[in-house]
Subunit: 329 residues, 2 copies
C-alpha cells in the first residue's frame, strides 16, 4: 500500500478536516465520538455498505462515489423525515487508491457536508486486497416517537411518490453503453441522477411535521419492491396505476421508443425519492406542502386489504414485473 501515506498520517491529513466542526469527535484523535441528541429527540440511525464493481464503478469519479454514499444514507433519513447530524465511515482501500483518488473522495465528502450541514463523527481506514469497500452510518434526529414506519400504512391510504422514477436506471444503462438517440443534456441529466441522488430531506421533514403521513420510506430498491416492504410490514396489499408513476421528460422520451422499459421505472431502484401513504383527505394538503419545498408529489395508487403489490396497466390488467427491484442475492 505504498501509494498512500501511513494510516495515521492519512487520517490526520485527509479525514480529520472533515471532523473539524464536530464537538465530540476530538479531531479524530480518539477511538470514539460522543454525541447527545437534543432533549425530546430520538436518534435515527441507518447504515449502508458499498462495494466497487457492485454499487459503483471502479472508474467512477471518486468525489461522486463519496457523495453518493453519503446521499444514499441521507435518503434513508429523509424517508423518516429526520434531520441529519453526522456520520461515521469505514473505508477499505485497495492498491488502486492513490492520494489523488483519496483527495477527490474527501473533497466530495467536504462539499456535501457543507451542503447538508453535517460532519464526520468517526471512522476506520483499512487496507484490502480489493475491491474498495465502504460503509457509512448516518445519524439523524427527530422529535421522540414521530418517525413514520413502514408498518404504519392503513387500508384505504393513498400512495404518493415524490419527484420522478427511473432516471437513475436509464442513466446506468447509458453508462453501461446503451445507445439511445438522446441529446447530450438529456444524457447528462440521466447520468447525473444515477451518480448523484438528491436526498429529499426538506420534503421528508415537511411531510413528517404535517402529522398526516402514515408509512414513509425512500425508494432505493425500486418502487414495487419498496412498496412491497410497506405492504408486508403493514399487513396490507397495494394497487398501483403504472401510468401514474412519475417520469421525467428525459425518461418519457426513452419510453416513447422503448415502452417496455417502464419496468425500469417501476422496479429498478436507485431512485431515492420518497414513498408514503396517507389518508385520502390529506392528499391535497401534502401535495401542496411538497410544492412549497419545490418537489412534485403525485398519487399513484392505494393501500388495500390483502397482500402484495399489483401494478395495473391502462386497462386495469396486472403487469408482471418479475421479482421486482434490485436484490443482492
Amino acid at each position: 500500500m505504498g501509494r498512500l501515506p501511513d494510516e495515521f498520517a492519512l487520517i490526520h491529513r485527509y479525514f480529520a478536516p472533515l471532523a473539524a466542526g464536530v464537538a465530540g469527535a476530538s479531531g479524530l484523535t480518539d477511538d470514539v465520538c460522543t454525541y447527545a441528541p437534543p432533549p425530546g429527540h430520538d436518534l435515527v440511525l441507518t447504515t449502508d455498505a458499498l462495494v466497487a464493481g457492485v454499487h459503483f464503478r471502479q472508474d467512477d469519479p471518486p468525489d461522486l462515489v463519496a457523495r453518493k454514499m453519503l446521499r444514499v444514507n441521507l435518503s434513508d433519513l429523509a424517508g423518516k423525515g429526520a434531520k441529519p447530524v453526522g456520520y461515521l465511515m469505514t473505508t477499505a482501500f485497495d492498491a488502486s487508491v492513490d492520494e489523488a483518488w483519496l483527495a477527490a473522495f474527501v473533497r466530495g465528502l467536504a462539499e456535501d457536508q457543507a451542503t447538508f450541514q453535517i460532519g464526520l463523527m468517526g471512522g476506520d481506514t483499512v487496507a484490502t486486497p480489493g475491491p474498495i469497500s465502504l460503509s457509512l452510518t448516518a445519524l439523524g434526529i427527530l422529535p421522540v416517537g414521530t418517525a413514520p414506519r413502514r408498518g404504519d400504512a392503513k387500508a384505504g391510504d393513498r400512495i404518493l411518490v415524490s419527484g420522478t422514477l427511473g432516471d437513475a436506471a436509464f442513466g446506468l444503462r447509458l453508462l453501461q453503453g446503451t445507445s439511445w438517440p438522446l441529446s447530450d443534456p438529456v444524457r447528462q441529466y440521466l447520468i447525473g441522477r444515477y451518480r448523484l441522488p438528491e436526498p429529499r430531506l426538506a420534503l421528508g421533514q415537511a411531510l413528517r411535521q404535517s402529522g398526516s403521513v402514515h408509512a414513509m420510506m425512500d425508494v432505493s430498491d425500486g418502487l414495487v419492491a419498496d412498496l412491497g416492504h410497506i405492504c408486508a410490514a403493514s399487513g396490507l396489499g397495494a394497487r398501483v396505476r403504472a401510468q401514474a408513476a412519475p417520469v421525467s421528460s428525459a425518461g418519457a422520451s426513452i419510453l416513447a421508443f422503448a415502452p417496455d422499459l417502464l419496468s425500469l421505472v417501476l422496479a429498478h431502484g436507485d431512485d431515492y425519492e420518497l414513498l408514503l401513504t396517507a389518508p385520502e383527505a390529506e392528499v391535497d394538503r401534502l401535495v401542496g406542502l411538497a410544492g412549497q419545498v419545490g418537489v412534485d408529489l403525485v398519487e399513484i395508487g392505494e393501500m388495500s386489504p390483502g397482500s402484495g403489490v399489483a401494478v395495473l396497466d391502462r386497462d386495469g390488467h396486472a403487469l408482471d414485473l418479475g421479482r421486482g427491484g434490485f436484490r443482492h442475492f
Copy 2:
C-alpha cells in the same frame, strides 16, 4: 450468489432475530433504527472495518470472526468506560459464504449479544466479488461529559495497563505456523486470546466512575503506538519500563527462550486491554478497584513533558521498537 437465500429472506431468517429485543429496530423491517440515550447521558460511537485475509483468516471459525468483530468495538467503548447498548453492522459476503457459514456467524453474534446485553439495531447486507468485508458501529452510553479522552493525560501521571500484553501476538504466530515447545493448553490459551478478546467493560466503567482517571483508551494498535496516541493528543512524552509490561505465564514461557519477542508484547497490538493515566496518589485505589472486578492493573511508567514514547530496558537504556504497532499503510 446462489449459495445464499434472497437478500430479504436472509435478513428475515438470520439477522432479524438478532434485533428481536431492540425496541427501535422494528425487527429490521425498516431502513432505520431509532434510539434515545437516557437523559443526562452522552452516546459514545465507534466503528471498525474488518476484511478477510487482513483482519481475520478466511478459514477462521465464522462464529469467532463475528464475536471478535463485536468485541473489538466493545473494547473501544470499554476504553471510555461506556456501557454498550447496541450495534449496526454491514456485511459484504463473497461466494464462499454459504448458509452454514452464515448460521455460525449469526450464532456467534447471538451468543455475545447475550453475554454483553446488547442487540442489533440495523445493518446492510450486500454481495462482493470478495474478500468478505465487515463493518460494525457500536453504541454505548455514559453520563454527559465523563468520557476520558486521549488528550487528558497530565505530566507526572502514572501509566497503567490492565491484564496481560502480547498473548494475541503469540497466538497469531502459532496460527501462522510458528512451532514453539508449548503444552496444548498454553497453545490454546494464546490462540484464544487472539481469536476472542475480552473487552474490559466492567473495568472501564469502574475506572471512569472513580473520577481519578485522566486519559484512557484500549490497546488495539500495540502499547507503544497507543501510548504514542495519548502522548500526541496530550502534548506530552511517556517513559515505560519494558520489564513492567504485564505478561501472562504463557507469554513468559515464550520470552524465556525467545527474549527478542518482547517487541510483540510492547508493540504488536490486538491486546484489547485498557491503557490509562492517573495521578500517582490514585494508583493504589485504581489497582484496588480493578481487583474488585477481577482484572489486574499494573503501573508501567509515567507521563512527562516532551513528546514520544521511550521504552527503557532494565538498565535504563532506550529500546528501539521500529515504528511500533500495527499499521495498515
